[in-house]
Subunit: 365 residues, 2 copies
């Protein structure tokens, strides 16, 4: 297959996303963007599969690694501190480079370590999940969780390069692969109707793990995210569109206990809820809701929130979400497929109706 490069244009913070096969095996490729000394941050699941490959690809560059426990439950200040420990114990200075080798959790934590170690060092992303390739590795958001909320502690810190290697997806469990599709489908919803149509046609190929189809989907997703991020690096306006389904989704993730529902799964149910509310607000027809949930269902994703999360749990978490600005909740709604809007003046009754609707559905299960 051919490889693709997507450029993220952020002035002095611009960087390339390389999308292709066997990138980790191309000697010297990763080293193009490193510096004097490299720390690879990965987890116990990914390390046995790919850590040696990355270390080999770094050739003679002085290097070390930190292997963290796997899972969202470990995305906290305590685990972050073990990265700082590793860097300091081995005398890493300000000129070093941190490589994140793993999924979104590793990318977010290694990224925040890079943002904050000695007030900022170079950072490279090698995302090993589909979700991380199309979402968290693009845009420079880094963070750890706090017991009282997800991603509450973090920074904007752009990587110097992202390597999205299709080959590493071969070892990705089906459930995680599908969770990645949720974010890909989101890009169709919020920005690109044509891409949404392409996804409806190619969902079978994607689920069959056709590498070219996946690379195509990754490329288009990164392009869309790159455009949105370039227009609004620090999330003051349009970038909020990327949070379609996320305010509902975060409540599901937090309410279920981080890690029980995958991020993509929670976002899938969250998008169905956002579609329902968009319909109640008079923005879209019921048929659009159905078309949306049909594609998510075809991707093997949940289209209902878990019955454990009722209306009051949703409200409790949603009001604590970062999308709350100056005390009022902002939600991302859909105006049509391919066009999302930021709404902070919706009728609160519509939100209550949506939450009650899904409460009732859960009760039916």
């Amino acid at each position: 297959m051919t490889s693709h490069t997507v450029e993220i244009n952020l002035g002095s913070r611009s960087y390339p996303i390389l999308i292709g096969e066997n990138l980790l095996e191309q000697a010297g490729l990763i080293n193009t963007h490193t510096s004097s000394k490299v720390m690879v941050v990965t987890n116990e699941t990914v390390a046995p599969l790919y850590l040696q490959k990355v270390l080999d690809a770094l050739g003679n560059t002085p290097k070390s690694s930190v292997v963290l426990p796997d899972g969202e439950a470990f995305k906290n200040l305590e685990t972050l501190d073990t990265i700082y420990d590793g860097l300091l114990r081995e005398g890493f200075d300000r000129g070093c480079t941190i490589i994140a080798l793993g999924g979104g959790v590793i990318g977010d934590m290694a990224g925040f370590a890079a943002a904050s170690y000695q007030r900022g060092v170079r950072f490279i992303q090698i995302p090993t999940t589909l979700l991380a390739q199309v979402d968290s590795s693009v845009g420079g958001k880094t963070a750890v969780n706090h017991p009282l909320g997800k991603n509450m502690i973090g920074a904007f810190h752009q990587p110097v390069a992202v390597y999205a290697d299709m080959s590493v997806l071969g070892t990705l469990p089906d459930r995680e692969f599908k969770a990645g599709l949720a974010e890909i489908i989101k890009y169709g919803f919020i920005i690109d109707k044509t891409f949404f149509g392409w996804l409806e046609k190619n969902i079978g190929e994607l689920l069959a793990r056709n590498s070219s189809a996946i690379a195509q989907a990754v490329k288009r997703s990164c392009e869309i995210k790159a455009d949105v991020v370039a227009a609004d690096e620090f999330e003051r306006g349009q970038r909020a569109l990327l949070n379609f389904g996320h305010t509902f989704g975060h409540a599901i993730e937090a309410g279920m206990g981080y890690g029980n529902w995958l991020h993509g799964e929670a976002i899938s149910a969250g998008m169905v809820m956002a579609l329902d509310m968009s319909h109640r607000c008079g923005l879209i027809d019921q048929s659009v809701c159905r078309r949306g949930s049909d594609l998510l269902a075809a991707a093997g994703l949940p289209v209902l929130p878990p019955p454990q999360i009722n209306k009051s749990t949703f409200l409790q978490y949603m009001l604590r979400d970062k999308k709350v600005i100056d005390g009022s909740l902002r939600l991302i709604l859909l105006d049509s497929i391919g066009q999302a809007i930021v709404s902070d003046n919706f009728d609160p009754e519509m939100l209550h109706a949506t939450l009650e609707h899904f409460d009732a559905q859960a009760a039916d299960i």
Copy 2:
């Protein structure tokens, strides 16, 4: 006395430093730069003196406070977490403002909390020590310490305003006041010969706590730091000059255990060591060394490192300092009074000679 305003010019991140008396009592003044909801971060020493004044000055703005234990020993991730806790428990969102009310430790911690809470919120500095007024509250450096090194975890995050109120210095213990003079004298050394001369003449007035003299010294110090920071916000070059005496000084602070020597005291001894090394490198005469240490001594500051910190301890800490780039140590040396230089190609023998010289002096004590 007249009040002064020093503008820090950093494009969209520009902000004013207001220098004057009874600023905290001017209703509405602080509120000019706040937002919907304000969190005041202070410590157990400052809270009984000034917290209520600040809360009063905020009028009807919704507000809360976090009172931390006092001291450099608490400048760590664990204490930082108590700030996040307070913010999250009380539902502070992204639109909030954090006010640092205290010395450098509070400014650095509250600043890093502001840099990292929800990936960055507004931040105001009300420095209550002379050191913080002339140094840490200007320039946007924020950080916490790690057991393996000082200020190893942090961010560049500019405040929206700084209020340097001379009135709060009335409660500052003498030892801390003198420590602040060390950084003021540093500005003379590195940039401004005229200011150095002014300090030689006015050191008596300053020690007598003449408010106008102090305000003048604070103003000139902030101007110098502002110029240096504006030219090099992210410390890639010239900003390093501000670290004159700091590589030696940090080794003293860390070696003695944080908090035993005040920062300004350690920096004072560190500057004397840097002067000695500048002389050994052929940059300045012995007479310049003497003039420098005379002024520091007149300010009641230490001009020798503590005997507990020997050559090998110095080397151990200095090589871990952030001024190490790509493995080689950079030091700030003096070319003349009013002109410092960054040096990374000094003869290592000169460093050894300086360290041995002070080892021998300590042995004489």
